[in-house]
C-alpha cells in the first residue's frame, strides 16, 4: 500500500502537468456519457417521432467517441510515460524493483482514470439536461426534458472507460518494466540531427494536394467512389509530405533571404522551427487531416440543417396539397385555414397530365422512371396554371411559349452533375408528341407525391395532351408559418382521410429537421471533442519541447535576448505550429464542401463560414494558452 500512497502523492505533485490532459479526458467522457444517456433515455425517445434515427445516430456517435478516446488516452499516456523515463530510472537506481515501478505507474494511471470517469459522469449528469435541450431545439420540438439519470448509460460509460484505462495502465506497467536503466537515462536526451529533405518530394507534395483538389472537382463526378478514394489518398499523402518536406525546405530556403533572416527574432524562430517541424510533422499533418474531416462533417451537417427549408420545398413546394375531390372540400379546408392563426396566402387548383415520355438525344433522367412498368413518364402543366403558382412561389413567371416549347421543372438540377437538357427533344412515339425543352428551372412546382418532373406547355397544347394522358387536379394551399403548422395539418389530415391523400410541407420539414438536427448535434459535439483533444496534445507537446529548450533560451538571454524578443519568437513559432495545420485543414475542408455546394447547386458559404470560424476561435484559445504557458515556464527558470 506504500506504493499506492506514493502514486497518490505523485499525482498531486504533478497535477499541473496533468491538468490539461485530465480536463480533456473529463470532457471526452462527459460527451460520451451524454451521447449514451440520450441513446438510452426512453422518456425522450418516446416523445419524438424519429426515435429510430436517434438510436442509430447516438449508437454510432458513442462508438466513434469511444474509439477516439482510446487513441487519445493511449497516445497521451505513452507521451507522459516517455517523459518520465528518467524518474523511473532514478527509482531503479535507488533500488526500487522494476515490478514495483511498474505497479506504481499502473496505480497512477488507474487513479487518474477513475477520477476522470467520476468527474466525467458527474459533469455529464450536470450538463445532460442542457445538452438535451439543445438537441430538442435543433429538432424543433417543444418538449420539456427532465433531469435524467439512467443506469444503462452510467454502466456503459463506466465499462468502456474502465477497460480503456486498465489497458492503458497495463501498457504503462510494461513500458516501465521493459526499459533498461541505461535507456531511462538516455531517453530525455534528444539526438539533434539535421533532417534530410528533398526538393522533388516537396514539389510533389504540393502537386498531390493540388491534384486532389482538381480531381475532386472533375473525376469525382464521373466516378464518385474511385473519385473519393483517389482524392482522399492524394490529399492525405500530400499533407504528410507537405509538412515533412515542403515546410522544412521552406524554412531552410527562407534562410537565404538574409535581409529578413538576419533579424534576431526571425533567425531564432526559424532555427527552432526547423527542429520542431522535424519532431512534430506527423502530428501537424494528422491535425490538418483530422481538422479537414471534422470541418467537412460539421460544415456538411450544418449546411444540411441550413438547407432544410429549400430541401423541403423541393419535395412539398406548398403548405398543403392533395388530389382534388370537390369544391366543397376545398372550401372546407379554406375555412379551416382561415380559422387558424395562420394566414391563407394562396389557393389554387392546377391540372396535370401524365404521359410516357423520353428524351430523344440523351438518356432520360432516372427520376422519370416508373420502376414497375420500367417506362419513363413526365407530367404536363398549363402555362397559365404555372404562372399563377410561380407568382406565389417566386419562381419567375414565363411570358410566352411557342407551340413546340416546354419548360422543364427539375429540382436540384445543376449543369455539373446533369447533362444540359435545353434544346433537347422529349418525345412520345405512340401519340406523336414532340417538344423542345427551352428552359430548365431547378425548383419543384407540384409536390413530389403527385408529380416528379413537370413540363410546362402552352394552354392550347395542354388541352390536347389532357385527353391522351392520365389527368388529375391538384388543390394547393399556401399559408404563413408553414413550418409550425403541425396542429392545422392534423386537422386537415383528419378531414381528408378516406377521401384523398395529403402532401404537406410541415411533415416533410419536421421529419427532415429531426434527422438533420441529430446530425448537427452529434457532429458538432464530436468535432469539439476532436478539437479539444488535438489542441491538448499540441499544448503539452509544445510545452514539453519548450521545457527541453529552456537551456537554449537561457543562453540566448545571456547573449542579450530581451524578454520581449523572447515572447515574440515564441509567438512566431506557435503561430506556425498552430496556424499552418488549421489553415491547411480549412482549405481542404473548403474544397470538400465546395463539391457539396456544387452538387446541391446552392451557396453554402454562410453555414460553412460560420462553422469554420467557430473552429478557429477554439484553436486561437489553445494558441494563446500555449504561448502564455510557455512564457510562464521560461520565466520561472
Amino acid at each position: 500500500m506504500q506504493l499506492f500512497k506514493i502514486a497518490l502523492r505523485n499525482i498531486r505533485h504533478n497535477s499541473h502537468e496533468y491538468l490539461m490532459y485530465f480536463l480533456s479526458m473529463v470532457f471526452a467522457i462527459m460527451i460520451f456519457f451524454t451521447f449514451s444517456s440520450l441513446k438510452y433515455n426512453t422518456a425522450f425517445s418516446d416523445a419524438i417521432a424519429s426515435s429510430e434515427k436517434l438510436q442509430t445516430g447516438f449508437s454510432a456517435a458513442t462508438m466513434i467517441m469511444g474509439g477516439f478516446s482510446v487513441i487519445f488516452i493511449w497516445y497521451s499516456n505513452l507521451f507522459f510515460t516517455k517523459r518520465r523515463k528518467k524518474e523511473f530510472g532514478l527509482y531503479s537506481l535507488m533500488g526500487v524493483k522494476k515490478r514495483q515501478i511498474g505497479r506504481l505507474h499502473f496505480y497512477e494511471t488507474i487513479i487518474l482514470g477513475l477520477i476522470a470517469i467520476v468527474a466525467g459522469i458527474l459533469s455529464g449528469l450536470f450538463f445532460s439536461k442542457l445538452f438535451a435541450m439543445i438537441l430538442v431545439r435543433l429538432m424543433r420540438y417543444d418538449i420539456e426534458v427532465g433531469f435524467f439519470l439512467n443506469w444503462p448509460s452510467v454502466k456503459e460509460t463506466l465499462i468502456v472507460f474502465s477497460v480503456i484505462f486498465v489497458v492503458v495502465s497495463l501498457q504503462g506497467y510494461f513500458i516501465a518494466y521493459r526499459y533498461r536503466l541505461i535507456d531511462m537515462f538516455h531517453s530525455s536526451k534528444k539526438e539533434q540531427k539535421q533532417p534530410q529533405s528533398s526538393l522533388f518530394i516537396a514539389i510533389l507534395s504540393i502537386c498531390m494536394i493540388g491534384g486532389s483538389y482538381y480531381l475532386s472537382h472533375s473525376y469525382f463526378y464521373q466516378n464518385p467512389f474511385w473519385g473519393m478514394v483517389t482524392t482522399l489518398m492524394l490529399a492525405i499523402t500530400g499533407t504528410y509530405l507537405f509538412f515533412r518536406h515542403f515546410l522544412y525546405l521552406f524554412l531552410k530556403l527562407s534562410q537565404k533571404n538574409e535581409v529578413s533572416h538576419y533579424k534576431s527574432v526571425n533567425l531564432i524562430s526559424n532555427a527552432m522551427l526547423r527542429f520542431k517541424v522535424k519532431s512534430n510533422y506527423r502530428m501537424l499533418a494528422t491535425i490538418a487531416i483530422l481538422s479537414a474531416v471534422t470541418l467537412t462533417t460539421i460544415g456538411t451537417a450544418y449546411s444540411f440543417y441550413y438547407l432544410n427549408e429549400s430541401d423541403s420545398k423541393a419535395i412539398a413546394p406548398v403548405s398543403f396539397s392533395y388530389e382534388y375531390v370537390d369544391n366543397q372540400t376545398d372550401q372546407k379546408i379554406e375555412k379551416l385555414i382561415q380559422d387558424s392563426h395562420h394566414a391563407l396566402e394562396f389557393h389554387q387548383v392546377a391540372e396535370i397530365t401524365k404521359l410516357p415520355l423520353q428524351f430523344q438525344e440523351l438518356e432520360t433522367p432516372a427520376i422519370m422512371k416508373d420502376w414497375e412498368t420500367n417506362k419513363t413518364y413526365g407530367y404536363f402543366m398549363r402555362l397559365s396554371d404555372y404562372n399563377k403558382i410561380a407568382h406565389d412561389q417566386n419562381l419567375g413567371e414565363i411570358q410566352s411559349l411557342s407551340d413546340i416549347e416546354v419548360v422543364m421543372m427539375m429540382p436540384y438540377y445543376n449543369q455539373t452533375y446533369f447533362p444540359d437538357y435545353t434544346g433537347k427533344h422529349i418525345v412520345n412515339q405512340d401519340h406523336q408528341i414532340e417538344f423542345i425543352v427551352s428552359k430548365i428551372i431547378d425548383r419543384a412546382i407540384i409536390s413530389s407525391k403527385f408529380a416528379k418532373i413537370v413540363f410546362v406547355v402552352q394552354d392550347t397544347q395542354f388541352e390536347g395532351l389532357k385527353n391522351l394522358g392520365k389527368t388529375k387536379k391538384i388543390s394547393m394551399f399556401d399559408i404563413s408559418q408553414a413550418a409550425d403548422s403541425g396542429q392545422l395539418r392534423n386537422v386537415i389530415s383528419t378531414v381528408l382521410s378516406g377521401k384523398t391523400s395529403l402532401s404537406d410541407y410541415y411533415s416533410v420539414y419536421q421529419q427532415m429537421i429531426e434527422g438533420r438536427g441529430i446530425f448537427v448535434f452529434i457532429s458538432a459535439f464530436l468535432g469539439i471533442v476532436f478539437l479539444v483533444a488535438t489542441g491538448t496534445i499540441m499544448f503539452f507537446r509544445q510545452l514539453t519541447e519548450i521545457n527541453e529548450e529552456k537551456e537554449n533560451y537561457l543562453i540566448l538571454s545571456n547573449i542579450g535576448l530581451t524578454k520581449k524578443e523572447q515572447e515574440k519568437t515564441i509567438k512566431k513559432q506557435m503561430l506556425l505550429m498552430f496556424g499552418l495545420p488549421v489553415i491547411l485543414g480549412i482549405v481542404h475542408a473548403f474544397v470538400a464542401t465546395d463539391i457539396l455546394s456544387q452538387i446541391m447547386n446552392v451557396n453554402l458559404l454562410y453555414p460553412i463560414l460560420a462553422s469554420f470560424s467557430a473552429y478557429c476561435v477554439i484553436y486561437v484559445i489553445f494558441y494563446w494558452l500555449t504561448v502564455y504557458s510557455s512564457i510562464k515556464l521560461l520565466s520561472t527558470s
Partner: protein, 254 residues
C-alpha cells in the same frame, strides 16, 4: 589607457543574514582597454560568482560595478539584456552553443540581435571565421563538429559584435590539451590584433599563462596579481609558484 571595468568593494553573501557565507568579500577590480586578464583561485574562491556579477547575470549584495560609463546597479532586466548585447561577449566552459542553430547562425546571433544589416554581418562573419580558422564549417551544426571547433565558434560569437569586454568562464575546461592551446592562441590573437579586452576565469595555470595579467583571489578576497613579461613559460612557472602557496602542490589545481 581607457578604463573598461571598475569594481569596488564587491560583496556577495549567501544564506541568511545571521549565518551568511560570503562568496565575495570586498573585491576591487580594474580592467583597462586591450587587457587580457585571468582570474585564478582555488575552488570556492568566488571566481565564477565574480564573473557572473560582471556578466550582469547575478547581482552583488553590495559594492559598485561600472563598465565604461555605465553603472550596473539597479538596471531593469530589459535594460540589462540590451546592455549585455551591446557591451559583453561570452565564452563558457560547456560552449553554450545553440544546437538547433548552424555554426554561422550561432556566430552572427549577437549582430542579428543588434539588427545589423546583412552586408555588415557577412563581412564580420567572414573576417572572424577566417581569423579563427573555422570558415569551412559555418554551415554545419554544433553536434557534428569537434570540441575545439565548438569553443572557437563560441569565441567567434563572443567577439563578433566587438564588445567592450569578453568574458570567458573556464573556456578550456572541456577541451583536450591540443585544442586548448589552439583556442588560447586564438584568444591571444584576438586580444593583440583586434584589441579585444578579455576577462578569463580559469583554474588552469596553462590557460592563464596566455594572458597579460593574472589576478589571484582566495576566500572571496584579492590575494595577489602578477604581470606577464611576454615569456609564457616563465609566466607559467610564476603562476604555479603562487598556486603552490595556496596549499597543495599545484598540480592539484591544474
Amino acid at each position: 589607457m581607457k578604463k573598461i571595468l571598475t569594481a569596488r568593494n564587491l560583496k556577495k553573501l549567501y544564506g541568511t543574514k545571521t549565518n551568511a557565507i560570503a562568496a565575495l568579500n570586498g573585491i576591487d577590480l580594474d580592467i583597462e582597454e586591450g587587457e587580457f586578464v585571468s582570474v585564478m583561485g582555488p575552488s570556492g574562491a568566488g571566481k565564477t560568482t565574480l564573473l557572473n556579477i560582471i556578466a550582469t547575470i547575478d547581482y552583488p549584495s553590495s559594492g559598485t560595478i561600472q563598465i565604461e560609463e555605465t553603472q550596473l546597479a539597479r538596471m531593469s532586466e530589459e535594460k540589462l539584456s540590451n546592455f549585455r548585447r551591446k557591451h559583453l561577449g561570452f565564452i563558457f566552459q560547456d560552449f553554450n552553443l545553440l544546437n538547433n542553430f548552424t555554426v554561422k547562425e550561432n556566430i552572427i546571433l549577437p549582430l542579428a540581435l543588434a539588427n545589423k544589416p546583412p552586408r555588415i554581418i557577412n563581412q564580420r562573419l567572414k573576417a572572424i571565421t577566417e581569423k579563427l580558422g573555422i570558415q569551412d564549417i559555418v554551415e554545419k551544426y554544433p553536434v557534428t563538429i569537434s570540441g575545439g571547433q565548438k569553443q572557437k565558434t563560441a569565441a567567434a560569437r563572443a567577439v563578433i559584435s566587438d564588445p567592450t569586454l569578453v568574458l570567458a568562464d573556464e573556456p578550456t575546461g572541456a577541451l583536450d590539451s591540443k585544442s586548448s592551446a589552439d583556442l588560447l592562441g586564438c584568444l591571444k590573437r584576438l586580444n593583440q590584433e583586434n584589441h579585444s579586452t578579455i576577462l578569463m576565469v580559469t583554474h588552469d595555470a596553462f590557460a592563464a599563462s596566455y594572458s597579460k595579467l593574472v589576478i589571484f583571489i582566495k576566500d572571496g578576497k584579492f590575494f595577489t596579481e602578477i604581470y606577464s613579461d611576454d615569456d609564457r613559460k616563465d609566466f607559467f612557472k610564476k603562476i604555479m609558484d603562487i598556486l603552490k602557496s595556496f596549499g597543495g602542490d599545484g598540480s592539484a589545481v591544474i
